[in-house]
């Protein structure tokens, strides 16, 4: 009798694959709008026309009424004047330490941000100066000279004090770019920093209270508490996270989440950090996966040989 098994197998595989295609790739394609990456070019912002001078930039950044009025720069020996929860309460949002801003954020983005924060951050729907809704960060109005040159100098200065791009760790990238709004509890990260090990419960609770106070400020600023990102690498995919960070408005029109203006390199590191938190055992999985696949093929091979031997007498 003709062996029908190959055709039966083909029928089973065909219907299985059709079902899989429809409920997985196709359904997800319909349910989730696809957003193309803008390759972190920030092409909507004006191009950089001037070459900055870090030395002049330093005077501008450190000048009274300029950046250090609100921002700390640890790398330049300017620690934060207030604890983060206090800063958040007084400014509305915690002004970030600028030590590594020059390496974390894109230069074109920083250039526009310094002059026009709400525009660069894409939150003009929330902060419309005409309606008296001021962004907590005041735009730089110039120090009397060519404003474009001055901004270029400031950016050059920030770049000069930042660590080298190779020295940016995944955790550093995350903490700078995301960590002031998004906790990551599985990595022990709160919005005000890594929670230390306390000897006394009282101190631990005191720290928690600071976090809660800080969270209250973010809630007021953002409308709700931004989610903990511990498992986001599995609840959202890489492409979604990366295009969302690039321009939140592309995914969630009207969202309070600002564009963070990170470089492509920072983004890769943020993703790496999120994988460390939410898909910690991925390297182990790949390694074990290979071994198991090799073993199981050998297993199937021996099963086949055994069957052949047993069935020799049956035909």
């Amino acid at each position: 009798m003709k062996n029908k098994e190959p055709i039966i197998l083909a029928v089973v595989v065909f219907f299985t694959l059709v079902t899989y295609y429809l409920v997985e790739p196709y359904a997800h394609h319909v349910m989730h709008k696809h957003v193309e990456s803008e390759s972190f070019a920030y092409a909507d912002l004006p191009a950089i026309t001037k070459t900055g001078d870090a030395a002049r930039g330093q005077d501008l950044v450190m000048g009274a009424g300029a950046c250090v009025g609100c921002h700390a720069i640890e790398a330049a020996g300017m620690p934060a004047a207030m604890e983060p929860q206090m800063a958040a309460a007084s400014y509305g949002v915690n002004p970030p330490d600028l030590s590594n801003a020059g390496v974390i954020y894109d230069a074109r983005f920083l250039t526009d941000l310094i002059k026009n924060p709400a525009h660069a951050l894409k939150v003009e729907h929330k902060f419309d100066a005409d309606k008296g809704q001021m962004h907590p960060m005041v735009g730089f109005y110039g120090a009397g000279g060519d404003i474009d040159q001055e901004v270029a100098d400031m950016v050059a200065y920030l770049q000069s004090i930042a660590v080298k791009p190779e020295a940016v760790t995944p955790a550093l990238a995350y903490e700078n770019a995301c960590g002031r709004c998004h906790a990551m509890s599985y990595e022990n990260w709160t919005q005000i920093g890594t929670k230390p090990k306390f000897k006394h419960e009282k101190d631990s609770l005191a720290f928690d209270i600071k976090v809660l106070e800080y969270q209250d400020s973010i809630k007021t600023y953002m409308g709700k508490l931004p989610p903990d990102l511990s498992m986001y690498i599995r609840s959202r995919n890489e492409q979604f996270i990366s295009t969302l960070v690039e321009n939140p408005q592309n995914h969630l029109a009207g969202t309070a989440m600002p564009r963070t203006g990170v470089t492509a390199d920072t983004m890769d590191k943020v993703i790496e950090h999120m994988k460390d938190a939410g898909d910690t055992k991925r390297h182990k999985r790949e390694e074990v996966g290979k071994t198991v696949m090799i073993f199981i093929v050998i297993f199937a091979l021996f099963a086949l040989l055994w069957k052949k031997q047993v069935w020799r007498d049956l035909h």
């Binding site: 319909v30 599985y186 989610p227 498992m231 959202r236 074990v288 696949m293 199937a300 099963a303 047993v310």
Partner: protein, 405 residues
């Protein structure tokens, strides 16, 4: 009292007390299987293996899982996935096996329908099999609640709401099932109990029944041929192994079972390590939040076809048809009025069309159940749901007109 003699060996000792030789004959070496079968007959063994994978992985997950609303998500995603040695592997095996077991169940089911293996004394095999399907569905649903993610919570909310019976507004019953107004601790606790104790016991009992139901009518074969097992097995035992129409379960058929299991496991472990996303929905990696509904709520893929029968109609009609779809398969042996128990392609055009249409339509329903119920998708869903019902109503009519072959 039976007479015992001094044992000559461990085997003899056991044999006197447990009749192990007899048991071995009844269960394996003289449990006769027709030779005229194909690899689809190994799906039962594939299911046994998958069930064992679920059981073993489940045991290891159970040791670290914490069934409280505050701790469940953390215990799964932090403790098991990050801390427990190979905890991630148990979870992936458990999640993927839970999904794949349904694929194999559906293949097993449609094999039975195609070859008419629910007829002529095999009705109880079919009925116990469908009871197993229901038990596995309950097991899958209750297990899906346990990680306490967004999809757990909202699937729990939506599915338990079905028990309100639409316009009946039996909110009391819904609250009784949940033990609360919304899915909360009482709900998680009872679904945990169902998942790890009551339903597994029921499944094991039903597996016993399913196997027992096979003993008297024996396994069907590719041509629906009636085999005289006494005559054929004698032929085999007298040495005419090649001429007999039957073979031993072990090692003859078992070796083929294991070959199919081997190939299946290649596919299975590929999914576990490299393509697990379909079985572990991303939405369920967000912790449960009763104040925020996910944008799309859908069940796991194996429930989609019946979910879609619910969706296109108003709540009452939808629920009635949903109930119909849940139980109708159980009655297949009695709805099929045909005297023929041969493969579908030899039973005349009507049943052949019915079979392939049923299979294709259930795939259409499955797809539409996941897609958002908008525009053309909801129309296709409506047509497919009506077609599904119509096919079952037509079945007794077309089969009673079938000519004897």
């Amino acid at each position: 009292m039976a007479h015992f003699t001094k044992a000559t060996s461990v085997k003899d000792w056991l044999n006197q007390r447990l009749a192990i030789e007899k048991v071995e004959k009844v269960m394996a070496s003289e449990y006769w299987i027709p030779k005229n079968i194909n690899f689809l007959w190994a799906m039962g063994m594939v299911l046994v293996v998958t069930f064992v994978l679920l059981l073993v992985s489940g045991i290891f997950l159970l040791m670290y899982y914490v069934p409280t609303t505050a701790e469940a998500f953390y215990s799964v995603n932090y403790t098991i996935m990050r801390e427990v040695g190979y905890g991630w592997l148990w979870r992936h095996v458990h999640g993927v096996a839970a999904s794949v077991v349904f694929l194999v169940i559906y293949i097993h089911m449609f094999t039975a329908i195609y070859y008419g293996s629910y007829k002529k004394g095999r009705e109880m095999i079919w009925i116990s099999g469908m009871l197993l399907f229901i038990a596995f569905s309950t097991e899958a649903f209750s297990g899906y609640m346990l990680p306490w993610g967004q999809m757990s919570y909202w699937a729990g909310m939506v599915i338990t709401n079905l028990f309100a019976g639409g316009s009946l507004h039996a909110d009391g019953l819904v609250e009784w099932i949940r033990g609360d107004y919304v899915p909360a601790q009482a709900f998680l606790g009872r679904f945990f109990m169902l998942h790890v104790l009551l339903v597994p016991i029921a499944i094991m009992g039903l597996i016993g029944l399913h196997f027992a139901a096979l003993r008297i009518p024996h396994v069907n074969n590719q041509d629906g041929e009636e085999i005289d097992f006494d005559v054929e097995s004698k032929k085999y035992l007298n040495g005419d192994k090649a001429g007999s129409k039957v073979m031993r379960f072990a090692n003859d058929f078992m070796s083929k079972d294991m070959m199919v299991v081997g190939i299946f496991l290649i596919f299975f472990f590929y999914l576990v390590f490299y393509n697990y996303g379909f079985a572990m929905d991303p939405v369920n990696f967000d912790p449960a939040d009763g104040l925020k509904t996910p944008a799309h709520i859908y069940p796991e893929w194996y429930f989609l076809w019946s979910y879609e029968i619910l969706r296109p109609f108003n709540i009452d009609l939808g629920l009635a048809l949903f109930g119909f779809a849940q139980v109708i398969f159980v009655f297949l042996p009695f709805l099929d009025r045909s005297p023929n128990s041969v493969p579908a392609n030899r039973r005349g055009a009507a049943f052949k069309v019915w079979f392939w249409l049923m299979l294709s339509n259930m795939i259409v329903l499955t797809a539409m159940g996941k897609l958002p119920p908008e525009g053309v998708f909801s129309q296709i869903g409506l047509v497919a749901a009506i077609l599904f019902i119509a096919q079952w109503i037509a079945l007794p009519i077309i089969t009673s007109m079938e000519k004897k072959v």
